[in-house]
Subunit: 333 residues, 2 copies
């Protein structure tokens, strides 16, 4: 099959239709549309993330990992909204050079692995021949009890700001990938895995329903995403830099080179959950963390005002050169 | 604004958020996901169509027309499934050269026009910076009564095959666009409009619920799409070439050059509805056509067997060199 020209219908029948076997409304991808029947008293949560070759990934990342990250960044958005996965639509813009059995098998194998792991079947989509770059897009569907979607903009003054897991590992992975920065080899493997195979925090997100005032996933960088919650809620976020949870490997890297703290706080691709809860909910958050087996760390507060400030242990402002796409004045102290 | 570098958040806030004003669950595009709450006893119909610069459209087609065609090809899929429009997710992969006020205004103006015309608000999506080509994708949502989606593969032997409107106009528009083929100027304007601004047959499609055994829209070409219904239903489609409805302009063009009949029967982009009904439903189809104000013409039948044949008035097979992506033997008689 490799090297042979592959038609659209053959591509769908051979590679994609098996991925739709568990979606009752996908009709084996043999119709023009799919049917999603939300259960009684449930809302459908819908989110879309596109990934482009050369911008969001490289072909050298490997077809299987590209596929898995594509699903996981979308699942992470569902997690942040407290939703349970339902399924997804896929846009596959395939260049000729990848329209071969080897690449497609590896790509669909990645989709299949994570579909099974997360109960997230393919419902439909579109395949187009892309003249140059691989273009991928997923529209993900999840379900929540009616009115139960976690929002970005409902944080209240006085809320505590928490984040799950650890921050900055993926950003250091990107430092190695783009700038050939070296770390101890075990650390580099860990950073690379965190960059290419983020873990959607689904169980934790579902546990935040009715508990968190606001939630989102950290994809653009901790500081910028805290800014998103603050802005959408009409509040100011204050982050205590010393409390931001770091993995052992990242803590070591920052100790060796203090300038990496900025990379850690503003780099993207963490896919942890950032959320605001009232102070009295601290015990519930701890209980949820224990139940799910995922750390949640209080990193700051939401106050009246606007913007984001990052402060050190002495309460002094830590100026950051850049937070994701936003611009901050000054340089790192 | 033109020429200035435009950030993702500004693009969303300035151009896209106003398009989401009528979608209650879009939250002004200020959250990570949207909520769709299907009404009781309704299924959600989901379909995705992607369009790529240089493959599906040219920038010279104009930003407004590109935007409107993007929505209309998706609305046409909803129409073919008998669905009422609910809203859509948009992927906008924008190259730097188009990230200016003039282009974005024209593009969003096109979206807005057809959103209003069809009651089809923006729910969310993703914007990415594309290094070269404009990449567009829409995932469209519609609603039908539970179990009411029109299917492709439920035609029965003995059904009559119908098509709405006229066939081949867009294919002749493409002949002019790609091969600089000349027709009378009024005809060329008509073909061009049919190519770039198809009309989704929503009211007709909704009227087919409970009436048609199978339906789809004609996007790949009449012969190929009849083949899709036939194949999905495990049947053979027979099309009577002389009964295929042609516009006056297309009829004239085919009279002037018989070889264009093949282009008309196999060219794409008609976006008419192709559907199968039992013979006794002919009167209901005529009544629906009268009510909606759109012609529906009986062009053939579905029989036991497989494949598609096109026959002339004398009942002889009309061999076609190519039907869409499928291959047929022989040449046009």
């Amino acid at each position: 099959m490799a090297g042979q020209r592959l038609g659209e219908f053959e591509l769908i029948a051979r590679y994609l239709a098996p991925l739709a076997a568990d979606a009752p409304g996908a009709y084996g991808l043999r119709d023009d549309a799919a049917v999603i029947s939300p259960r009684l008293n449930e809302d459908l949560v819908v989110t879309t993330d596109a990934m482009l070759e050369g911008i969001h990934f490289l072909i050298e990342d490997g077809a299987t990992r590209i596929a898995r990250k594509l699903l996981r960044v979308n699942l992470s958005d569902l997690a942040a909204k407290g939703a349970s996965p339902v399924g997804y639509q896929l846009v596959l813009g395939l260049p000729e050079r990848l329209a071969n059995d080897e690449w497609l098998r590896a790509f669909c194998n990645g989709l299949e692995q994570d579909q099974k792991a997360y109960g997230f079947p393919l419902y439909g989509g579109d395949t187009v021949r892309s003249p140059d770059r691989l273009m991928l897009s997923v529209t993900a569907f999840g379900s929540v009890p009616v009115g139960g979607m976690l929002r970005r903009g409902m944080a209240q003054a006085g809320d505590d700001l928490y984040v799950t897991g650890s921050i900055g590992d993926a950003a250091l992975g990107l430092e190695t990938k783009l700038n050939h920065r070296l770390f101890p080899s075990a650390a580099m493997m860990f950073f690379d895995a965190r960059l290419h195979l983020p873990t959607p925090r689904l169980a934790f997100g579902q546990g935040l329903r009715g508990l968190a005032h606001a939630a989102m996933d950290v994809s653009d960088g901790l500081v910028q995403d805290a800014g998103h919650i603050a802005e959408a809620s009409g509040l100011r976020a204050v982050i205590h830099a010393a409390t931001v949870p770091l993995s052992l490997a990242t803590r070591q890297a920052v100790q060796d080179d203090q300038s990496l703290l900025q990379t850690v706080l503003t780099g993207g691709d963490d896919y942890e959950l950032l959320f605001a809860v009232p102070p009295q909910a601290g015990r519930d958050v701890a209980a949820l963390a224990g139940r799910v087996g995922l750390a949640a760390t209080r990193i700051g507060t939401l106050e009246s005002g606007e913007g984001v400030s990052v402060v050190d242990a002495a309460g002094h402002s830590v100026p950051l050169a850049q937070g994701g796409f936003q611009h901050f004045g000054g340089t790192l102290e």
